[in-house]
Amino acid sequence: MDPALVVIIVVVTALIFDFTNGFHDTANAMATSIATGALKPRTAVALSAVLNLVGAFLSVEVAKTISGGIVDDAQITPAIIFGGLVGAIMWNLVTWYAGLPSSSSHALFGGLIGAAWVASGVDAIHFAKVVDKVLVPAVVAPLVAGVVAALATIIVYRLKKAADPRVSHTGFKVGQVASASLVSLAHGTNDAQKTMGIITLALITSGSLAPGSGPPTWVIVSAGLAIALGTYLGGWRITHTLGRGLTTIEPAQGFAAQTSTATAILASSHLGFALSTTHVASGGIMGSGLGRDRHGVKWGTMGKMAAGWLLTLPAAGIVGAIAGKWASTGTGGIIGVAVIGGAVSLGIWILSRREPVKPEHIVDEVAAQAELHKVAA
């Protein structure tokens, strides 16, 4: 197959991945605002989409981590990248359908590493860089967000006692929307850049760009648009788990959690850490839950989420390895991977249409929950 055509296929697939990433991750930024009623679901999602787009233009550090670090660009081909991407997309769709907030980012790294490893050998992976820029931040960043969110929540709840409850309720709803917006912006800086990095890597491996190049402008623009569109169109299913299943959230607490999450992601993006925004957001929500009430966190739900996180890298890695090996065998392999990837995606989409979760359902359930609290009080 013409190498230029393979690169075009990779670019399109990477943008589809970016779209599913936005689709998957709207929840991170907007879950708490929707759950507390600070924003209507549709407004929340539209705002988040625009800010994701803006965020994509803020930095290229994370893109450089991916295009110039974790795999050896001399040893892999665009076909291998294609295999890795298909692995990542399939894992993303499966976890999305199951309502599990797994990490799109880790699915991407898993897919890419699995594909490169099997198709080109273990030398094609720069493990030191993977540990330094991906694995260690993956553990540290959610902990940082969690610890800081706990502290911020304690400060907020201590200091707000002296305030008029009505003023503070309205005030924190505004604060929550502002901090949710920052999370969306942060999300754009970290996640949109991963797609930019992948496309740039494909361009480098095909010889269109010099090794070590940053993403060209058209790559930045298209990646930003794809994630924004995905954010706008998706995410209800996961918002459901993250907004209410994890811990019950008040506006003041959402504000503290999100301020911490946004700062942790932005600081990490600036240093080129390609981390999972989903994990950091969950860390922030957990931390603030602990800061408010030591007994208020549903550890069972947390355990299930952590299991999903641990599974992501190897699971996407295995799918990516199979797809990457097959795609690297030639034209037939690329077509085969594309057909199977397309069929699985279509299947999950049809399944999800059977029991659609609409934004209105979430609002209704929040209202119902508020009623329960009134009765209890």
Binding site: S59, A163, S269
Partner: protein
């Protein structure tokens, strides 16, 4: 295999400092607002905005 702990420490330090600063200013603003002290309230909220904009400017430039 070297892990850049300094960078991780920077992330922790920056997150801690910025978050504590922003939430403290914001709550003080809300307290001032509930006792009808308009000026200190607006000064606090302006402080929050300034911290956020400064942080973003560090990333962009």
């Amino acid at each position: 295999m070297t892990v850049n702990w300094t960078a991780l420490l920077q992330v922790f330090g920056a997150t801690l400092l910025v978050t504590v600063l922003v939430v403290t200013l914001f709550v003080l603003g809300i307290r001032a607002l509930s006792t009808d002290k308009k000026m200190p309230a607006y000064a606090s909220f302006a402080g929050c905005v300034a911290v956020v904009l400064y942080g973003l400017s560090l990333i962009v430039f």
